[in-house]
């Protein structure tokens, strides 16, 4: 069964995908979004990100987003895993999976979940640049 999680450890998308595949034999399409920390942001070279989280509220909101996505799109299952703390360039910051009988709903649900996570979940990122400066985004 799907779940939401806030992780302080590196996230392995492949293992979450295997869990999603194992949820139900009715699943015919799985869409996975993987957010990765990129090396350039606003023209500056990024060394790392630091994610701050209001964990008590973030977990509730993540649960809300997952439940709403399942109701709204009728998908079989959904997973949302957000990394927090220090995340280096090239590491995974967000994994969203939507699984359904057919691909269309899974695509729509995954896109909607990513947008809602970015808009509603109380998590903030601070970019640290290679020139020694840093900025809250």
């Amino acid at each position: 069964m799907g779940y939401v999680k806030i992780s302080r450890e590196p996230v392995e998308p492949g293992s979450v995908l295997r869990e999603a595949i194992a949820v139900s034999r009715k699943i015919g399409g799985i869409v996975m979004f993987v957010g990765v920390v990129r090396s350039i942001s606003r023209g500056k070279e990024v060394a790392k990100l630091s994610y701050d989280v209001y964990e008590e509220m973030a977990l509730k909101v993540l649960e809300d987003v997952r439940r709403e996505a399942m109701e709204r799109f009728g998908v079989i299952d959904a997973f949302i895993i957000h990394r927090v703390g220090e995340v280096k360039v090239g590491e995974v910051s967000l994994v969203v999976i939507a699984a359904d009988e057919h691909r269309a709903n899974a695509f729509k649900a995954a896109a909607w979940i990513v947008d809602e996570v970015k808009r509603r979940v109380p998590i903030w990122k601070k970019e640290y640049y290679t020139d020694g400066t840093a900025k809250w985004i």
Partner: protein, 82 residues
Amino acid sequence: MSIKVKFYGWPRDVIGSSEVEINPGGRSVLELLKVIDKDGKVVRAVKEDRLFVVVNHSKAVNANFKPKDGDIIAIFPEPSGG
């Protein structure tokens, strides 16, 4: 008699602490922030509705809200995760 005021994102850096314990004394969130925020940057942002104020992990309130003993107030900007 005390409440906790928690700061996330840039307000945490401005305040210099993620959590402040204070006696509410019948004062509003805004009045309490004026005591906590020496710089005034967080107070300004709250007045301009650029920061959210949430009580006990669930209820969004405005800065005139008067916390009671044991309440946990969270102050934070618009999310930027993902």
